[in-house]
């Protein structure tokens, strides 16, 4: 049984450098790193000291507020560095990998006969809980709560992002195990979405509510789908998991091992031969970045896709949630009279002497230039064109900027997370930092209302 959802509003951003669908094995990384900025709002408490030997799957730290929530090491090795920032906040934890890997082994768990508490305990112990994210607030789910529904989006529309239909091939067993476990965690439904014309292995899963999605970006963002399927109300909780993380969860359930293996798309116009690499969470990006060859020196490495990813660097590490690494040229150059000449080589949502509308299928080579300066909100009605939510985007952004809690609630801040505003941010003529505004709004709302 499946339901079709067609998203009309949106904009596909076609970029040069789509990853070719071949998988290479990345060379093993020497040092693996867990970047704490991947876990928004988390206060970590270390469980092991610097210099200690850890096994793969062994807890490194836990959440100070929810002590059951363990974060485990992706590999076995020596904890060589705990990098701290201002006020001794932990920024990165680095592990020097052993040549011979050793693994913490848990018993396997057949989720079909297990209770919610058993599933939770298993995922918490195995280090897979942080893969489950919660809305509102876009933080790791609190295991003491119960969501009204769980959403998994298997449809990808983000520019240059890894094609889930491709990377999930052959993982049916793990996916089914993980989905069965998730169904225990909610009295509601587990909603899984796939592309209408794709051949996703997710389409054959049992025990889920399947949705077939079509339409331009942001149709693939889970937030868009939640809004169309079962929008979040004040007080409600919804959990989301990405399909690639389901594979890791499934493997933990089936084998009892935390196996942080990922197939990562290396994409972007600064990559000579963009393709997929099999590697692990926390690995050095350099282990596969140069294998594909890079164009020039001055490019930006992004953990994730170009709209929502985190800025990284050539010696950075693969993020906890990412299955895409993008490299695009930096745009730190001036453009003489760039504001009034006709533009053919950049994407635009208008037709104001910009001609991307003539070539909807052309692939563009965009750089990181903002193409203009930060201004007050002026133009209206443009965000709505690419924002399929039943929400007034500019009014919500303004409510967040003036910190009006009532307005934020009423206008639907509970339903969105920063990535839902990535496309409006992309087309914003006033170059306002939408995702940051929404993030700050969510933080404020969480602090004041909880």
């Amino acid at each position: 049984m499946s339901k079709d959802i067609r998203i009309k509003k949106g904009l596909n951003i076609n970029l040069v450098g789509v990853a070719e669908q071949t998988i290479s094995k990345a060379v093993l990384s020497n040092v693996y790193a867990i970047n704490l900025s991947d876990f928004h709002g988390l206060t970590p408490k270390m469980l092991v000291k610097q210099g200690a030997e850890v096994k793969a799957g062994q807890p490194l730290f836990y959440n100070k507020n929810i002590e059951d929530m363990l974060f485990v090491s992706p590999v076995s090795g020596e904890l060589i560095e705990i990098e701290r920032g201002a006020r001794r906040r932990i920024l990165t934890i680095k592990i020097l990998a052993d040549k011979e890997q050793s693994q913490v082994e848990h018993p396997s768990l057949d989720a079909s006969g297990a209770s919610a508490a058993q599933v939770k305990a298993h995922l918490l112990k195995g280090g897979c809980w942080p893969f489950i994210k919660q809305r509102p607030y876009d933080v790791i789910a609190d295991p003491n709560t119960t969501p009204k529904a769980i959403f998994v989006s298997g449809y990808v529309t983000a520019p240059l992002a890894a094609d889930l239909d491709f990377v999930l091939q052959g993982k049916e067993k793990e996916l089914q195990a993980a989905i069965t476990a998730l169904t225990k965690l909610t009295p509601g439904k587990v909603h899984v979405s796939v592309g209408k014309s794709g051949n996703s292995p997710l389409a054959s899963l049992n025990g889920v509510e399947l949705h077939k999605i079509s339409g331009p970006h942001p149709a693939g963002l889970v937030g868009t789908q939640i809004n169309k399927i079962d929008p979040i109300n004040k007080g409600e909780l919804v959990w989301t998991v990405t399909p690639q993380d389901l594979v890791i969860i499934g493997e933990l359930l089936l084998t009892g091992k935390f196996n942080p293996e990922r197939i990562v798309a290396l994409a972007g116009s600064s990559i000579k031969a963009p393709k997929y690499y099999k590697t692990k969470i926390g690995t050095e990006i350099a282990t596969f970045l140069y294998a594909s060859g890079v164009n020039g020196e001055n490019f930006r490495v992004i953990n994730g896709d170009v709209l929502t990813g985190a800025k990284s660097s050539q010696d950075g590490h693969l993020g906890f949630y990412n299955n895409t690494v993008t490299a695009i040229p930096e745009g730190d150059d001036y453009d003489f009279f760039g504001w009034n000449k006709p533009i053919f080589n950049k994407i635009s949502a208008t037709r104001a002497m910009t001609f991307s509308w003539l070539t909807p299928n052309k692939k563009f080579d965009l750089n990181t230039n903002t193409n203009g300066e930060h201004r007050a909100f002026v133009v209206t009605g443009q965000y709505e064109e690419v924002f399929p939510f039943d929400i007034y985007p500019m009014q919500l952004l303004k409510a967040c900027m003036v910190k009006d809690l009532d307005e934020m609630e009423q206008l639907g801040l509970y339903e969105v997370i920063p990535e839902d505003f990535s496309l409006t941010e992309f087309i914003c003529i006033s170059k306002q930092p939408h995702q940051q505004i929404i993030r700050e709004g969510l933080d404020l709302l969480q602090k004041e209302i909880g």
Binding site: Y62, L307, M353, T368, N369, Y392, E425
Partner: protein, 420 residues
């Protein structure tokens, strides 16, 4: 230029330097939060598109200034031909000496005020005035003294915009604030039959002073004729009205070029088609109502409203500033309604009220700028109710919310024991 920008970085004058720099170059800023790539459009490009849509109107107005001037002196040419009688150097020269100074004063004074405020308040010079600056000379009478315009521009920019926080924050359209200031401060310069044609006022003053070597000229607008129930004396054809060979404020007359500009703005997705369409509908509706009233015989020819009320409803769009106001002023995104539904209401009421004020205004038969200013004030109210509708839907949904309790019983304690 790049060196200069770096040199002044962090100093008081930085906004001024940056404004010149950003005029020449798209800056080298790269994204540092959120999306790593951005679309090609920025505010300058947006404003520039509006200016491009206004340039044909400006050019036409320069020719029309001369055409009206010479026609008032020599009579309208028979067998009118565009090349021979309209696009002539003589006509253009009048435009150069009359319209360009208005444009120069408008930009010069307005941008000066913007720069001063930017430096004082330490923010960047925003691009809002680029459009205001070209709108202003197009909506004033041709002989408006430059000092008067300068005073009005200072008032309009300071009171209409800067006191609210600058571009994007203002409640009233600055160009219309300037026009309204002129209208209320210097009414004799802004209305009557002596202000719409170059030299008309000057000559009548000379005649009053006893000069005998000049002929009096006048140029009443079509609305002026109608308001005095003198519609029959008017010699303008519908095509004159449509192409704009009629007296009026500098740039409000060429309906055809305004229409093309409007279509360009709609096509480029810069201006809202919703506002334009609904404003047209609103004005047609009001015009039809007035026509109906006349047809019913409720208004007789002796009534002072007869001339304007009996004017064919669709011709309202061709004369006066209605078309210009709808295309270039009502669509100002900052002062207009911001929600799509709100835009329908907002536009419709602008058209509706424009024609209504035009007919009933005893002092001055034109209402577009008043209607738009009035709706500027009400736009936030319209949006408020539209947004309330959205909130109400959300509140209704909330009744069926599935809020599950937190499990804080023994189970979690059990878990804790297991995991730690």
């Amino acid at each position: 230029m790049h060196d200069l920008k770096m040199k002044y970085k962090g100093k008081k004058m930085a906004p001024a330097i940056n404004a010149f720099h950003t005029f020449l170059f798209t800056p080298n800023e790269t994204t540092h939060s959120g999306a790593h790539v951005r679309a090609a459009d920025d505010l300058k490009r947006t404003m520039n598109t509006v200016i491009m849509a206004l340039l044909p109107v400006l050019l036409f107005s320069m020719f029309n200034a001369g055409y009206q001037h010479f026609s008032a002196i020599n009579g309208f040419p028979e067998n009118f031909s565009v090349m021979e009688h309209f696009l002539t150097w003589d006509n253009f020269w009048i435009g150069v000496v009359k319209v360009l100074p208005l444009l120069a004063v408008s930009y010069g004074v307005g941008l000066l005020v913007e720069f001063i405020f930017a430096v004082i308040k330490g923010h960047e010079v925003e691009e809002g005035y680029l459009v205001t600056g070209i709108l202003v000379p197009l909506i004033v009478p041709i002989d408006t003294p430059l000092w008067m315009l300068a005073v009005a521009v200072v008032f309009g920019v300071v009171i209409g915009k800067e006191v609210f926080g600058g571009t994007g924050m203002n409640i009233l359209n600055p160009a219309l604030t300037i026009r309204a200031f002129l209208f209320f401060a210097y009414p004799t310069w802004m209305s009557g039959d002596k202000v719409w044609v170059h030299e008309a006022r000057e000559r009548s003053e000379q005649i009053l002073a006893g000069a005998t070597d000049v002929d009096a000229i006048s140029g009443e607008t079509i609305l002026g004729f109608l308001a005095q129930n003198k519609g029959a004396e008017m010699s303008y054809t519908v095509s004159d009205m449509f192409y704009g060979f009629i007296p009026g404020s500098v740039g409000e007359t060429p309906t055809l070029l305004i229409l093309l500009g409007g279509l360009f703005l709609i096509f480029s997705k810069i201006a809202s088609w919703r506002i334009m369409l609904s404003a047209v509908l609103g004005s047609l509706f009001m015009g039809l109502v007035f026509n109906g009233v006349v047809d019913q015989g409720w208004i007789t020819e002796t009534s002072k409203f007869y001339g304007l009320m009996s004017f064919d409803f669709w011709k309202h769009l061709l004369v006066g500033g209605l078309a210009f106001g709808i295309v270039y002023m009502a669509t100002d995104p900052v002062t207009g309604a911001q929600t799509n539904r709100g835009k329908w209401v907002y536009g419709f009421l602008i058209g509706f009220l424009s024609v209504m004020i035009r007919v009933f205004n005893p002092a001055y038969p034109e209402g577009v700028f008043l209607a738009i200013l009035l709706m500027n004030v009400f736009a936030p109210t319209i949006d408020h109710y539209v947004v309330r509708g959205n909130i109400k839907r959300r509140m209704k949904r909330l009744e069926n919310a599935v809020i599950l309790p937190k499990d804080t019983d023994g189970k979690t304690a059990e878990l804790k024991a297991e995991t730690v």
